[in-house]
């Protein structure tokens, strides 16, 4: 019995507090941004959107997922910026994100979270965690210590392509003009059961320069811009699916696939409405990228399992806070690092 108890505690991770767990990653996110009850622990600032995906049937040859048969699938989405601070100014980062939940017939779902850069910063959950530690705000300045960050990037050459993108990318003044990349690789499964390695992105119909304001966005410009555009009509993106070759890495989101890989335009994402995230339909959605319909499967990308596990923990915390369940306030040390 004692052995059983010990084995149980070991499995739960209580005897190995240094093992990387979802809880430690989410604690680190929470420490960096401060405690904001009810909000996502990352990409905390965002807005709900809704509309539909109009499939043209072109991807159906590669995946039996019902979302790719010709026709419409309703979509609940969320546009956001990264970081755990729901009041962060819109120019605090060049990264923008779009998360989507496709509601397929029969109760199946496809959830995906995408960012506007073509490569992810790191390739593994361990490196993601180290980056969070390196970016922890200094208690005196409330800013990350540049030397620590530089040391992290120097020790992680795989961050090079992302840094090159970040250096040349100005924070966009609109969500509507961005492409959003799924980054992680997945498999499409066709009717014969064959697996096709894929990566997807959505590319905007809205061109980048249409009524772009002069400077970078200030505090809440992104949602104002979105509301203004939606008042004039729906926003459209094309869902582009790139087919990988056998030699393309499926386990490394920091490396792009060669540009000549075939890309299918699978249909149009149409966003019609936006709603405040505090009351909108995306609030209680966990955009866990491993919630997939039959016909799409995860790859060996190590970020995927880590995301599933960490998003679930973030979701557990924020829904618990919403419900005021006992124990939903964090331990004192996790609240110490406060907002800027």
């Amino acid at each position: 019995m004692l052995a059983l108890g010990v084995a149980f505690s070991y499995t739960a991770g209580w005897l190995a507090p240094s093992r990387l767990s979802a809880q430690r990653i989410v604690d680190a996110l929470q420490q960096n941004a401060g405690w904001h009850p009810g909000y996502r622990r990352n990409h905390a600032k965002g807005v709900c959107v809704s509309g539909y995906f109009e499939s043209n049937g072109a991807a159906a040859a590669y995946s039996v997922a019902r979302v790719f048969a010709q026709g419409r699938t309703p979509v609940i989405g969320r546009l956001a910026i990264p970081g755990g601070n729901p009041a962060a100014p819109d120019d605090s980062s060049p990264v923008r994100s779009l998360a989507l939940r496709f509601d397929l017939p029969g109760g199946e779902q496809w959830r995906t979270g995408m960012n506007n850069m073509p490569v992810f910063v790191v390739a593994t959950p361990q490196a993601f965690y180290e980056q969070l530690l390196a970016a922890r705000p200094d208690p005196a300045t409330h800013k990350p210590d540049p030397a620590r960050l530089a040391a992290f990037f120097a020790a992680h050459p795989e961050t090079g392509p992302f840094l090159a993108w970040a250096k040349t990318t100005r924070p966009s003044a609109s969500f509507a003009t961005q492409s959003y990349y799924g980054l992680d690789a997945f498999y499409f499964i066709d009717a014969a059961g064959r697996k096709h390695p894929v990566r997807w992105r959505v590319a905007p119909e809205t061109a980048d320069h249409t009524d772009a304001p002069a400077g970078p966005p200030s505090k809440d410009d992104l949602t104002d811009d979105l509301d203004r555009r939606l008042a004039q009509g729906p926003l459209r993106w094309h869902l582009l699916v790139t087919l990988g070759a056998p030699e393309d890495p499926t386990n490394d989101a920091t490396r792009v696939w060669p540009a000549e890989r075939p890309t299918i335009d699978a249909g149009t994402l149409v966003i019609e409405h936006a709603q405040d995230q505090a009351s909108g339909p995306c609030r209680d959605v966990n955009y866990d990228p491993t919630v997939l319909p039959h016909g799409i499967a995860i790859s060996d990308d190590p970020l995927l399992a880590a995301r599933a596990s960490a998003y679930a923990d973030s979701y557990r915390r924020r829904t618990g806070e919403e419900a005021h369940v006992p124990g939903s306030a964090p331990a004192a040390d996790a609240t110490k690092a406060s907002q800027p």
Binding site: L4, A7, S21, A22, G107, A305, P326
Partner: protein
Amino acid sequence: MNTHPAFHPLARVLHWTMAVLILAMLFIGVGMVSTVSSKHTWLLAIHKPLGIAILVLAIIRLGVRLRFRAPPLPADMPASMQWVAHASHWVLYALMFAMPLIGWAMLSAGGYPVTILHGWPLPPLVPAHGALFGWLRLAHGVLAYVFFLAILGHMGAALYHGLIRRDDVLPSMSFPRREPSPPQMSDAPATTQASAVGTALPEQPPEAQPAGDPASPGQGDAG
């Protein structure tokens, strides 16, 4: 009236199968929520269908339990101890139902598809509602620990019966004793009573067998 001092073979098979499955589920559960490795994915993929399988087995088991009465506890057990024994069994039953039902309801409240068979999710038990997810998620986690402690207590009690009291309780759920036979049955009076079920496994319901089959050799002492 029930004169069979052992559990129905089907009850025993269910008991031990489910004991293994439930313990496995508790380990899978706490393991998967902490790990960020690919184990998370496949443990979760086992957790959901296995949890629903436990629900189905629990329904069958409750039917078996109500259809074939449980053997009486040893008469010399104090009444308070008997009460605790019965109450603890109903607590275990309640948890066998509650855990999978909460798991299913929790995923429904979170707006997730409850994927058991790939491509054919179960219908939601409750409407999607974030705060309800918050409560059910807490309940699933807390009751899992209560379940684990209850099982440890139950095991302790079973071993106390089997190793210290050396009465019929453990054999009644494992390998029921037969008629006293030369090698080891010195505690004859109790065992004579306990000798209803013949072979240890289910082909034959106990009713089919004459109580105390004198021909069987005593092989299965308290496993």
